[in-house]
Symmetry: C2
Subunit: 214 residues, 2 copies
Amino acid sequence: MIFSSRLIEEAVEAFSRLPGIGRKTALRLVLHLLKEAPEETHRLADAIRRMRDEIRFCRICYNVSDAEVCSICGNPARRHDIICVVENIRDVMAIENTQQYAGVYHVLGGVISPLAGVGPEDLTIEPLVQRVATGQVQEVIMAISPTVEGDTTIFYISGKLKAYPVKLTTIARGIAFGGELEYADEMTLARSLTNRLPLEKYMLSSQADPSPDT
Amino acid sequence: MIFSSRLIEEAVEAFSRLPGIGRKTALRLVLHLLKEAPEETHRLADAIRRMRDEIRFCRICYNVSDAEVCSICGNPARRHDIICVVENIRDVMAIENTQQYAGVYHVLGGVISPLAGVGPEDLTIEPLVQRVATGQVQEVIMAISPTVEGDTTIFYISGKLKAYPVKLTTIARGIAFGGELEYADEMTLARSLTNRLPLEKYMLSSQADPSPDT
Ligand SMILES: [Zn+2]
Ligand SMILES: [Zn+2]
């Protein structure tokens, strides 16, 4: 594409670095901003810069937060004795959208994946164990995508938590094995939370599964 | 959608004001930026803000420009005696991408549309007449979308330029009547520029067309 303006070229280039945005779409966005009042562009630029510079991670659950403790951990109306363990903040949002869950979260920051070089020490597993060790927690729900890496992570965490008198559950397998939790529809996700299983049952059902070929 | 962070909510809101970007896509973009280094976000925010604040319109042709005169009008290698009249800067980009045109441009800023409340005085028609009045212009090519409003605009401009010894042409009707010039493929656009018609021929062919129903 040929641009007669370096300013436009640089804005198109910056937009097209975003996932799913090609150069044609980027140009359309830039030309849209040029048509609108400058305040629209300022609003967008300021909102994304402020978001990136001011966002913090909750010191309790590692969810994104505007303050030291996130609005979920800081909400007295929620059940703080139930912790839902998820891979990332997208999963928190997906579960919050079901409006079916009244407990709190723990964001791992990923799953154990030797191939990707992610070990248990790269995740927030130790802080989770510390939360459970306080004795205030009744139940830990593993809401982790049912993949090989997800299962590895669930088994690793359950080993770490075995010493504590806490109920371990996983969300029901409404989601197909290998499926990504964050792409599940709200109904499936809500139902699989409601029908969550004690972890021993999950492990049994998991062993009964034919092992994946790869 | 429920957000536990106002910072994220505001960034999602700002992104989703862009055309073709829904709230799900906006959230995906925001979460992508959160994963990348802060410099990526700064780069995007700065590029779009600078583009919007520093962009100017060429005082000769009204194309977007980084300086008082755009890089096309300022290029001595181009033919300054041929002016291609277009509706908007997207059309300039579309024609530049064909790499078949060596003249200069004139960006009208739209077409005459009584329904949309756009009259000739809202467009840069008077500055175009002044450019032609200098006597330096041999040919004015009307590269305007073949719609009812486009035709109205072409006829209005041709009336204004009748007094001057300048050749008036339109791009060939390679593009279907009612089609948007900016969405034409490069080949069609290049060919319709090469096969451009003297305006009298266009008017004749236009009258022979069955009138549109609406
Ligand atoms: Zn929190
Ligand atoms: Zn110019």
